[in-house]
């Protein structure tokens, strides 16, 4: 295998046709659309399967009979009792896909979408490949998850284009919403509990349910491999449990092949934008409730720009697994019996899940706004809130960044016929909830001060700025995947001050390792990532690459500085929390106290002027750092209970801190694989 990164690896975007599906809705009858003839061609003409038939197949399966008996023996309950439990789980879980409801949803969504979005762009080539794929093998639709809107947009598009409506894995809280839960159920959603833990019966019912859907192939299966809606708008580390269930029918030869379709949904402006930052700052996410949703109807008054739904090239699981999985390992145990995945299978499932996330990233569209957000965050917060940034300078820098992003292979949503200045002006207008322009300068908009009697405290002030900064950071995150590899290399160059390729590579790997919860890298592909970084950074004139040497190019200052600054908030946040851990009085802390303690520690530093990024306040960043130090062995989990407790190895924390600041060179750190299923 060669490790060389080639230009041709990049997506070819020329002549790709995107159609605004709202365009037709604005000119013809919504009712006509809802009642259109719907006659899709499912996999091998598989007959439709009613929810009842599906449940019966699942309950009668040898797998469930076996597990039921096993649980009965273990718990002393009767087999019938366990079976009843299984039936209850299944009832709670089941989808009840009905075309009538799809039509109703279709009608409603048309109305809503037309109000919210200027346009919804869909790539026609991806759709026609999907149309073919659903006939050839069972299809798994794998969208990224950034907004609640994701939930039904795909069904809506497929309904419009005569492709079988998917059944969709959804979180159980949605099922609890009055009416909406039932509508979603009838639109094909099935519901999965959040913390399944070691509930054996639940796992058995869920996995059999999922595998039966894949095996029968009467409908595509849609699920979010990231597991959750990303509050940071950044890709999340993929979850492997569902991925494994979905792939198992192929591993076991129950189907010839399975087709994965990565789908990238990109928003100019996310409906939940104001919620995001608050969630990250510790204001808990509102419980999904129907009234909550109705209150959100104020969002209907706003404009959210455009949305892109990019159906990626279908990927054959059979081809992906070639040479990676020896399917003979399933020969000796009846396929219906539960069998834990082998290390080989776990590694392959993890690799595929990461690959899909990467494909989602490559298929996503970046807005001018996201590029601007990258630039905003490189200015000090006080400059944003008080002095403002000169509009002219911002415009020029954004256009420079546009060029850089394109040279890195980004897909931009940049209206071609409009003058650049107008594009940027309308971008600012679209995001007037975050930013405003006044006398040639651009300012960050802080939330209205709540009407209070006493003046706001310094801490409240920090939180107010943090809310706005984190919202900007989320939009910056939309384009991070484009810059991340060159940015890691640029950072390695700056921190190590080394020019030796091998040393830079080691540091590059260290950064990938430490940030592997922040940015998604495909396991085992570090050297390709490094090659890609070298190639891209060389192409844009940032560095000179020799056989053994990598040096800063003379004209590379601007690019390298930009890339390093892009990563700086992450490095600062990590260093702060390393200091926090290092300065802890005790060696043991509980998970519950970790987040607030870190938050107040960071707040103090911000107030004293020692910390320049507000991102250290984000609970997401804090959790990622905790996973990173655990992965690097500097923190170990002591007890698994309601109160998870951790023990700190301060020496190890100090060591990581020193490597990250370039004081000592990185050894190849041995990290435990994070591929638990």
């Amino acid at each position: 295998m060669t490790n060389t990164y080639r230009e041709s690896d990049r997506l070819c975007l020329e002549n790709e046709e995107f159609v605004d599906i709202l365009e037709e809705r604005r000119h013809s009858s919504d009712l006509g659309h809802a009642f259109r003839t719907f006659s899709p061609h499912p996999y091998k003409g598989a007959p439709p399967c009613s929810a009842g038939e599906l449940s019966k197949t699942v309950l009668d399966s040898q797998h469930l009979r076996y597990v039921t008996k096993e649980i009965a023996t273990e718990t002393g309950a009767s087999v019938d009792e366990v079976k009843d439990d299984a039936r209850v789980i299944l009832e709670e879980m089941s989808q009840n896909l009905q075309l009538g409801f799809i039509r109703l949803m279709g009608y409603t969504l048309t109305k809503v979408f037309k109000r919210l979005f200027t346009s919804i762009y869909v790539n026609m080539e991806g759709l026609s490949m999907l149309q073919q794929a659903v006939q050839d093998s069972p299809v798994i639709l794998m969208p990224n998850h950034r907004s609640y809107v994701d939930f039904l947009i795909i069904s809506y598009v497929l309904f419009t284009y005569d492709i079988p409506i998917p059944v969709i894995a959804a979180g159980i809280p949605l099922a609890g919403m009055k009416i909406v839960g039932e509508i979603l159920r009838r639109s094909g959603a099935f519901f999965i509990r959040r913390a399944i833990g070691s509930d054996k019966l639940y796992w058995a019912v869920l996995s059999e349910y999922v595998r039966t859907i894949v095996r029968m192939g009467f409908a595509p299966l849609e699920f979010y491999v990231e597991g959750l809606r990303s509050r940071t708008l950044k890709s999340l580390t993929p979850k492997l449990g569902m991925m494994h269930m979905v792939l198992e029918p192929y591993f076991k030869g129950e189907v010839y092949d399975i087709t994965l379709v990565p789908i990238s949904i990109s928003y100019d402006r996310v409906l939940e934008e104001s919620l995001l930052a608050h969630e990250l700052l510790g204001v808990p996410k509102p419980k999904e409730s129907t009234t909550g949703l109705l209150k959100a109807s104020r969002v209907l008054q706003e404009n959210y720009g455009s949305m892109h739904v990019n159906f990626g090239r279908p990927v054959s699981v059979r081809q992906l697994c070639q040479g990676k999985i020896n399917r003979c390992q399933y020969n000796l145990i009846p396929r219906d019996l539960p069998q834990g995945p082998s290390a080989e299978v776990q590694a392959c499932v993890s690799w595929i899940a990461h690959l899909v996330v990467r494909l989602q990233e490559q298929g996503s569209f970046i807005s001018p706004w996201s590029l601007m957000a990258c630039l905003f965050l490189q200015a000090p917060a006080s400059a944003l809130t008080e002095q403002g940034l000169p509009w002219q300078q911002l415009t020029e820098k954004t256009l420079w960044l546009k060029k850089l992003a394109l040279s890195f292979g980004a897909r931009l949503h940049w209206p071609g016929q409009t003058p650049d200045a107008d594009v940027l002006s309308s971008t600012i207008a679209l995001h007037r909830s975050v930013i405003y322009r006044k006398s040639g300068r651009v300012f960050l908009l802080l939330e209205d001060e709540p009407a209070r009697k006493r003046p706001i405290s310094a801490v409240d002030g920090v939180n107010r700025t943090a809310a706005a900064v984190l919202m900007l950071a989320s939009y910056r995150n939309q384009s991070l995947h484009v810059f991340i590899r060159p940015a890691l290399l640029a950072t390695a160059v700056r921190i190590t001050k080394s020019t030796r390729r091998d040393e830079l590579f080691v540091f590059f790997c260290f950064l990938q390792d430490i940030f592997s919860n922040e940015f998604i890298f495909i396991p085992g592909k570090s050297s390709q990532d490094f090659e890609e970084a070298c190639f891209l950074l060389k192409e844009c004139g940032g560095i000179c690459v020799g056989q053994e040497e990598v040096t800063e190019a003379e004209a590379g200052l601007e690019v390298l500085s930009f890339l390093c600054a892009l990563l700086q908030p992450f490095i600062d946040s990590y260093q702060v929390i390393f200091s926090f851990l290092y300065e802890l009085e005790a060696h043991v802390f509980s998970e519950k106290e970790f987040v607030p303690a870190v938050r107040s520690f960071a707040t103090k530093l911000i107030l004293s002027g020692d910390l320049h990024t507000y991102e250290a306040l984000s609970s997401d960043t804090q959790k990622n750092i905790l996973s990173a130090v655990r992965r690097l062995g500097a923190v170990t989990k002591l007890r698994v209970s309601e109160q998870n407790e951790y023990k700190v190895n301060k020496g190890a924390v100090r060591q990581i801190e020193n490597i990250l600041s370039g004081k000592i060179p990185p050894q190849m750190l041995q990290t435990a694989p994070d591929a638990r299923l």
Binding site: G253, Y256, R327
Partner: protein, 569 residues
């Protein structure tokens, strides 16, 4: 009756005398399947006919075959690929003169004639026949020797050891595993030990119902001779017209009536084999023994790597009082498989044989069934009349539960008859750019449908990827059933116009199909054996330790690799 035990041969005693003649190849094709006088061809009107007088189909015209052939393969009678009438120069024999001298003094007949040597240098794999049709001949045996009894074999093996020559046992030549191919790297004299003259029944023991038979006897001859005494073995592999008893033992053969009579390992009571270390055999004829691992199982499936099987004592049975064919049409393959399984659990002792095949070309339309999905089971019942009729009814009742409809005796009989002529069809295809082969596996019941779907699909996709211009024929058949699983046959053929190296493409696709079989829980082989064709998968099939066991047996029995055909290991 004209139909004995499912064989559709109207074999005259005349034929059998020919087989006794040392020059078997006079009535056999040298570069195709079966008898010279029997073959499919298209007559001047473009209608297919089957020549000769040996088979029930002989002399018949089959107008539907042309259409089937053209539509299935996209073949055309205008595009011919006739065989080259004779082979190009055969390498002169490498002769170990001292061996030849010693052999002469024993009086055992032998030959160095090129035709005799080429005839015994191959089995019936596609690549072997394809090369012969192009007149290409690789390494062939340097001599052929015809022992006429056990003692002759003992002498030959002794001389081979003394002079270090390589022996390759040859029975009926129907191998489909490259087992008869001479290793090209072999530099010693290669001697083909043709057992065809060892073809007598030495005794029949009516008290114990056994027969002691020389291992060179060919299937149809064994059955005919036993029938004369009112007995049969019931062992009827598809190749029984030509394959030999010794070959069955050496490959672990299976017959289509094994549900009543058993496979070869169930049928043998005693085996005698001559090895470089001497003769191996048991001391008694007890029907079962607990004396450590059964030494018969070192011999069964040894594929000519350990010695020459010379004599076998076999179980025999009185000829069945009554036989009846039958057939059932199912709406689809899935229902058919489910039915066969159910039948098997209920009825074990009358249900002689059956085959289940989707889209059989002799039944294309049936009572509103989807012609693209329907599937036919052919059945054969044997035993006393009353029970046959009783069980026949039972089977049809079960079939009805699975949507199966009785399709008459004729269709059943035709199904069995086709078993024997189907091998001739390949030669017809090869005259018109169509190449193909069948291969088999055994698999647990719960995987039958999955393996069939996946392997067929794999074949189609591999063909596409390798540039085959026409959709291939990719189909399958359940031919044997067991308590815990079934034997599945795959049929794969395609029109190779436009390909520069069709045999290579064929082999790549078959290789991929075998990988797919193994990945789907199928075995490396149910009864064809490993030979050299499937050697590469042996280690993963039997484990490293298993390979070591087999190797150590080989090392002990044949340290000088006298039996150097290099099969299996």
């Amino acid at each position: 009756s004209a139909f004995t035990s499912g064989v559709s041969l109207e074999s005259s005693p005349n034929t059998m005398e020919h087989i006794k003649c040392p020059i078997l190849q006079e009535i056999m094709k040298w570069n195709g399947w079966g008898y010279v006088d029997s073959k499919f061809q298209f007559n001047k009107k473009g209608q297919a006919e089957f020549t000769g007088k040996r088979y029930r189909l002989s002399g018949m015209v089959m107008p539907a075959l042309k259409e089937w052939f053209e539509s299935t393969f996209g073949a055309s009678l205008q595009h011919k690929t006739p065989a080259i009438p004779n082979s190009s120069a055969v390498q002169p024999p490498i002769l170990n003169e001292a061996f030849v001298e010693d052999l002469k003094s024993t009086g055992i007949p032998f030959s160095q004639d090129a035709e005799d040597r080429v005839f015994r240098a191959h089995g019936h794999c596609l690549h072997e026949i394809f090369a012969l049709r192009e007149g290409k001949v690789g390494r062939v045996p340097d001599m052929v020797v015809w022992p006429s009894n056990h003692n002759d074999v003992v002498k030959i093996v002794e001389l081979a050891c003394k002079h270090n020559v390589c022996l390759i046992p040859y029975g009926g030549g129907t191998s489909v595993s490259s087992a008869l191919e001479c290793p090209p790297e072999e530099t010693r004299t290669i001697v083909s030990v043709d057992t065809s003259q060892m073809n007598r029944i030495l005794w029949i023991d009516e008290k114990n119902l056994t027969a002691h038979v020389e291992a060179g006897i060919v299937g149809q001859e064994l059955e005919r001779l036993l029938n004369e005494s009112g007995y049969c073995t019931g062992h009827e592999p598809d190749s029984m017209e030509f394959s030999s008893l010794g070959g069955w033992v050496a490959t672990r053969a299976s017959g289509m009536k094994k549900n009543i009579y058993g496979n070869i390992e169930d049928l043998v009571v005693h085996i005698r084999m001559v090895t470089p270390q001497g003769v191996i055999e048991k001391s008694c004829q007890g029907p079962r023994m607990s004396t450590g691992p059964d030494i018969h199982h070192f011999i069964l499936g040894s594929e000519g790597t350990l010695g020459v099987v010379t004599e076998v004592t076999m179980k025999i049975r009185p000829m069945p009082e009554y036989q009846k064919y039958g057939s059932v049409v199912f709406p689809n393959f899935e229902q058919g498989v489910a039915c066969l399984r159910e039948v098997l659990t209920l009825i074990t002792n009358v249900f002689a044989g059956h085959a289940l095949k989707p889209q059989k070309f002799y039944i294309t339309k049936f009572k509103g069934f989807d012609p693209n999905r329907l599937c036919v089971a052919t059945l054969l019942f044997e035993g006393d009349r009353e029970r046959v009729l009783q069980h026949e009814k039972q089977v049809y009742d079960i079939a009805a539960k699975f949507g199966g409809l009785a399709a008459g005796e004729d269709n059943g009989q035709r199904g069995y008859m086709l078993t024997f002529v189907i091998a001739y069809l390949r030669d017809l295809g090869m005259d018109y750019y169509v190449i193909g082969e069948s291969f088999e596996t055994s698999v647990p019941w719960d995987r039958v449908l999955d393996i069939c779907r996946n392997v067929k699909e794999r074949i189609i996709r591999e063909c596409k990827e390798r540039g085959v211009q026409f959709p291939p024929l990719s189909t399958c058949r359940v031919t044997q059933t067991y308590d815990a699983g079934a034997c599945v046959y795959f049929y794969f053929a395609f029109n190779y116009r436009g390909l520069s190296d069709p045999v290579h493409v064929y082999e790549q696709v078959e290789h991929a199909a075998r990988d797919e079989i193994l990945a789907n829980g199928g075995s490396l082989s149910h009864h064809h054996g490993v030979g050299k064709l499937r050697k590469e998968w042996m280690r993963e099939t039997v484990s490293r330790v298993g390979m070591g066991m087999l190797k150590s047996v080989k090392d002990y029995v044949d340290p000088g690799n006298i039996f150097g055909n290099r099969n299996l290991l």
